[in-house]
């Protein structure tokens, strides 16, 4: 991956086959990474499968899937229209999932219950990944994609966020997580709605440039300092490859209350160097 430019990201992707990706992840895990976060892009289920089959994963590690794979659904909606998208989602559900939906929502598609549908859909989306989970991995959290989290923040509406959190707690017995580019707004909305952040994972950008930190770096830092509960994972610490790792770490070390950092790597050597350095510096 590279966020510095799409061209570079494409070039790197073209050079990486499944085996190379597995090697990058194994290299990261043997060099100090403790978990793996991924979107529910179809390739990631193959990666998890290959990771388990490789036998090279060193020890226990944690998984942090991010749902849904938003870009994929946008593409599908563009291709098939909204009705076509709904049909495509329904066609992916297993017979038992469909039966569950019909029981919850009635026999008419027009009477489908969006809440029941969302729960069933989340389970169906995750099933393909969790069934591929390597034996020595632990599901630590399921995170909601930033587009949905931030959309709810835009509307100042917690119903979907609360539903997601409850569903993850009840069905997977793990911490619900949210990716957001609007950290202060997220904390404020949860607190005002009286929703607990105690077991919540929040993955959000923190870097010395203030890149993707809305509304400002100062405001994000202030929200982090005053945070009473919750588990914050800093992402984009190198501002998409714009800041050097040692500079990024220097900044991250000044931040209180971080539970972890999420960092990308694009080759075995890169993963080894990055995570070894992070282990030493953090």
């Amino acid at each position: 991956m590279s966020h510095l430019s799409q061209e570079r990201a494409r070039d790197r992707t073209d050079r990486l086959d499944l085996e190379s990706i597995v090697q990058v992840i194994c290299s990261a895990l043997t060099s100090g990474a403790t978990g793996y976060t991924f979107s529910t892009h179809p390739t990631n289920s193959q990666i998890l499968d290959a990771l388990g089959a490789s036998g090279k994963v060193p020890s226990q590690f944690d998984l942090y899937p991010i749902v849904p794979y938003a870009e994929g659904y946008v593409r599908l909606a563009n291709e098939k229209g909204m009705t076509g998208l709904m049909n495509a989602i329904l066609s992916r559900l297993s017979l038992s999932d469909k039966a569950k939906l019909l029981l919850e929502g009635g026999f008419s598609a027009l009477r489908l219950d969006p809440v029941g549908m969302l729960r069933t859909y989340l389970d169906a989306e995750l099933k393909g990944y969790l069934s591929m989970k390597p034996r020595n991995s632990t599901l630590q959290s399921v995170l909601l994609h930033e587009v949905l989290t931030d959309l709810c923040l835009g509307f100042q509406e917690t119903s979907l966020l609360d539903l997601f959190a409850q569903h993850v707690r009840e069905n997977y017995h793990v911490r619900p997580g949210f990716v957001t580019y609007n950290f202060p707004r997220f904390i404020k909305l949860f607190e005002e709605a009286g929703l607990s952040l105690k077991d919540v994972v929040i993955m959000t950008p923190f870097n010395s440039l203030g890149y993707q930190m809305s509304p400002s770096r100062d405001s994000c830092e202030a929200s982090l300092s005053s945070l009473r509960e919750g588990h914050v994972i800093a992402m984009s610490i190198m501002a998409g490859g714009f800041i050097r790792l040692d500079q990024a770490v220097e900044y991250v070390r000044t931040l209180p209350k971080l539970s972890g950092v999420a960092v990308g790597a694009s080759s075995r050597e890169h993963a080894r160097d990055t995570f070894a350095k992070l282990g030493m510096l953090l």
Partner: protein, 324 residues
């Protein structure tokens, strides 16, 4: 796109989304379930106009419906401000209908070419205007994506309302018009790869009266482009400017007075934090600009007239491909 603009707009201080209009039953149910209860949900925009007191509307419907909806909305409320997602219409004739309706209105009217709000493209525009690369001689540009790798069934694949020229190419063509003004001549070819009614690929040579020439490629069926990519490269007498969504590079020419090594400005180097970030900073800045124009009653850019120029160029390119 509608829900994206609604989320951003609602987050901006002083703006409130009070109603949405959506025809798909499941989406209206989802909106009622997950959006704030104060937001009214309609299936018919005429009914919405009758029952709501609106200052502004965002139109994010299929392209072929834009002009008639603009016309209907402005008949209902002549003071209404309207934002139309790009392109303004599916043809220049339809764009003119929207422009004429807008001239009879007291509101402000804008087209959603959000690349103009990207700090990287803004930097390129600034350097072109400063003449940093000397007289521009020629350019090349592309917009590529992997959006269409099989025949689709949505309106984007229907003749007169779809095709890559109406889908992603308008951004590229608007950037050229923004940088250099309206071209006078085009020669183009098109190709259908997966779609049976519309073009999946277009190559166009574009010429200006000034002597500036260049070519653009638009294709939504290139494999390996997980996200759409845009590039414009301008070759001047004193150097080359390359601009994408991610960076802007200026490479001074050999022997040029501006020599001193290439300068690259990455997005990160001058991006400031937006008040709210949903998907991409460009969308927020675009919506902020529109809402400021609504508040101050000043003409926003890109206006409907500017949007119509893009439609005119699209028509010219299509016409050229049909003439061979």
């Amino acid at each position: 796109m509608g829900i994206l603009h609604a989320g951003i707009t609602n987050s901006i201080s002083g703006a409130n989304v009070t109603a949405i209009c959506e025809k798909e039953s499941f989406l209206t149910m989802a909106a009622k379930a997950f959006l704030p209860k104060r937001i009214a949900v309609y299936k018919d925009y005429q009914k919405m106009m009758t029952e709501e007191q609106l200052d502004a509307v965002f139109i994010t419907t299929p392209i072929g419906t834009h002009a008639s909806i603009v016309n209907d909305l402005l008949k209902s409320n002549t003071a209404l401000s309207i934002f139309v997602e790009k392109p303004l219409a599916s043809s220049y004739e339809e764009a003119k209908v929207a422009c004429e309706a807008a001239t009879r209105s007291r509101g402000v009217h804008m087209v959603g070419f959000q690349k103009r709000f990207s700090p990287v493209f803004q930097k390129a525009k600034q350097l072109i205007e400063q003449g940093i690369m000397g007289d521009p001689m020629f350019f090349r540009g592309y917009c590529y994506s992997s959006d269409v790798l099989r025949e689709g069934s949505a309106w984007r694949f229907r003749k007169n309302t779809g095709g890559v020229l109406l889908d992603s190419a308008p951004h590229l063509l608007d950037l050229l018009i923004w940088f250099f003004g309206e071209p006078t001549r085009t020669m183009a070819i098109k190709k259908q790869v997966y779609s049976s009614e519309v073009e999946d690929y277009v190559h166009a040579v574009i010429s200006y009266d000034s002597g500036l020439q260049g070519h653009v490629d638009a294709c939504w069926s290139v494999s390996n482009f997980r996200l759409p990519e845009f590039l414009v490269e301008i070759y001047g007498r004193d150097g080359i400017i390359t601009v994408t969504d991610d960076y802007m590079k200026f490479a001074p020419g050999r022997g040029s007075a501006k020599m001193g090594g290439a300068q690259t400005y990455h997005r990160q180097s001058f991006e400031t934090s937006p008040p709210f970030l949903l998907a991409d900073i460009d969308y927020t800045m675009e919506d902020v600009a529109f809402l400021n124009a609504v508040r101050t009653r000043t003409a926003p850019e890109p206006s409907f007239l500017q949007g119509a120029k893009v439609n005119a160029l699209i028509d010219k390119i299509l016409d050229s491909t049909e003439k061979g």
